[in-house]
């Protein structure tokens, strides 16, 4: 068990070390400091500016998490409504597609105008960016229920609501989970773009400021913090999805225990 956990962790450390080594090599080959700071100076900045980074990271983290939750709830809600009431499909589906057809980047200035310079507009941006993937993966999952299960439920006298919540929704979970993982990596994009367009706090704001003052090392430090946030969010979501589906055999082969027995 410990060995199986250790091995991927070691691979990750090795891959990171390789990447940092490559980075250091490029610096040693004479890349100018204002374009590519050395890894060591980025680490120094991370430590020295930790209070500043922490302050801005919390703002961005709040926006990402709020956007992720809003987008997830809205997306699942839309998918449930679409599959429960068939007559809504012809009106809601084109609208859903429209939210995806308009690039969020293009309406970012508008969103800042409407929802202000504060976190509101960033939450909306993150929500918009993940709403479609969540709604479509969840809706697809709800539509592709094994017909045999629905037949069985029908002969048992199940109402449409019971079929939806006890059969179709659990059956859609694996599909929804892939949407959630995708959303975990997309939500930070929304928050950062929002901060670039107009804000007074957050990692995106900090990066713009640092860029303007040629503090490339601070920019890299902020980028690393953002990376850590995104990766943590991804693995948290992944973990929660697995916990919500204890029956699902693990594809990576890391978790071979079901009901406390090897399968």
């Amino acid at each position: 068990m410990i060995r199986s956990l250790l091995l991927p962790a070691m691979r990750l450390v090795l891959a990171t070390a390789l990447l940092v080594g490559l980075w250091q090599l490029v610096v040693l080959m004479g890349a100018p400091r204002y374009m590519l700071p050395a890894p060591s100076s980025v680490v120094q900045t991370l430590v020295a500016q930790s209070a500043l980074l922490w302050h801005h990271a919390l703002v961005t983290l709040g926006e990402i998490v709020a956007g992720f939750l809003c987008g997830t709830l809205l997306g699942i809600g839309t998918a449930l409504i679409l599959s429960r009431w068939a007559f809504l499909r012809s009106t809601v589906l084109p609208l859903l597609l429209l939210t995806q057809a308009i690039p969020v980047f293009a309406i970012a200035p508008l969103l800042v105008l409407w929802f202000g310079y504060g976190p509101g507009s960033k939450v909306v941006m993150a929500t918009l960016i993940i709403y479609f993937p969540i709604a479509s993966t969840c809706y697809d999952g709800l539509r592709q229920t094994q017909p045999g299960w629905l037949d069985l439920a029908a002969t048992m006298g199940a109402s449409a609501n019971r079929r939806l919540f006890y059969i179709r929704l659990p059956a859609a979970l694996p599909s929804l989970a892939s949407g959630l993982r995708m959303a975990a990596t997309a939500a930070p994009i929304g928050a950062i773009i929002g901060e670039w367009v107009g804000s007074s706090a957050g990692l995106g704001y900090l990066m713009l400021q640092a860029n303007g003052r040629m503090q490339t090392d601070l920019m890299f430090a902020a980028l690393i913090v953002l990376l850590v946030i995104t990766i943590t969010l991804y693995f948290t979501v992944d973990r929660l999805c697995r916990l919500a589906m204890p029956w699902q055999p693990d594809r990576t082969g890391r978790q071979t225990l079901i009901n406390g027995e090897k399968i």
Partner: protein, 256 residues
């Protein structure tokens, strides 16, 4: 091991017999069957055979009240005139166990579906009868195909429905597991009225009190005499192989 079944009356007018009348199914211009009628004696096992595409599964779905086609009808009635749709239990082509429900929760699925209180004691008793009480807290995918089929049987029995409709329920199992599940099913469903669609003549000859062969276009139903003896009949007797030959001939013969 032979399990004794109730002596089955072949008199279709015996009390408790169920009548299927005026069954019709068409897809546009293509009429699969029209005006089919058949009787199911109480506590009997009827096997419905026929070439694939003859409409036997559709006939079963119509009996279950499941969606088939816009141009379809069927009347189910017995002497009591009570509605039959709520008194059936369904077993589909796969075991249809829900992977996210533990074995015992799969057995009690009917209660959840109707919004009733579940009866874990009865579910547990049924699992004991199918020899699976040890697996109650497991997830279905940790069980073998034969074990899953037994869970599906327990779920069917939990429904307490007098009419059990089965659409090739054991088709996915290997031959030996199937022989074993036949014996169990025969014992456990002895007091129910069973209609089973099957592709396997041996399965039909082992279990059927009534053998119904569907053929022709539009399809008609022909009665075929079952071998002597009470189900589950031993698969390797002279009588079985004779009937097997006759049944195969009837199934492969083209009708005008």
């Amino acid at each position: 091991m032979q399990h004794s079944r109730h002596k089955v009356s072949t008199d279709a007018h015996a009390p408790g017999a169920l009548h299927v009348q005026n069954a019709r199914l068409a897809f546009g211009e293509r009429v699969l069957f029209d005006d089919i009628s058949l009787s199911l004696p109480s506590a009997s096992w009827s096997c419905l055979l026929g070439r694939s595409g003859c409409g036997k599964s559709s006939l079963l779905r119509l009996m279950a009240g499941l969606e088939v086609s816009n141009d379809a009808q069927l009347t189910l009635e017995d002497a009591s005139q009570r509605p039959w749709r709520q008194r059936i239990a369904w077993m589909g082509q796969q075991d249809l166990l829900l992977p996210w429900r533990r074995v015992i929760d799969n057995v009690q699925l009917g209660s959840t579906m109707r919004g009733e209180r579940s009866d874990p004691e009865r579910a547990m008793a049924l699992l004991e009868r199918t020899g699976l009480d040890w697996a109650a807290r497991r997830y279905p995918q940790t069980l073998s195909g034969g074990e899953r089929a037994r869970v599906a049987l327990a779920r069917t029995l939990y429904e307490q429905a007098p009419l059990v409709l089965m659409d090739e329920p054991f088709a996915a199992l290997d031959a030996l597991t199937r022989l074993d599940i036949h014996e169990r099913a025969c014992e456990l469903l002895a007091d129910r009225m069973v209609v089973m669609v099957t592709h396997d003549p041996i399965e039909a000859l082992r279990l059927g009190d009534q053998l119904l062969v569907m053929r022709g276009s539009p399809a008609r139903i022909e009665h075929f005499a079952p071998p002597e003896g009470t189900p589950p009949r031993h698969p390797a007797t002279d009588s079985m192989s004779r009937h097997h030959d006759d049944l195969l001939k009837a199934l492969t013969e083209q009708t005008a």
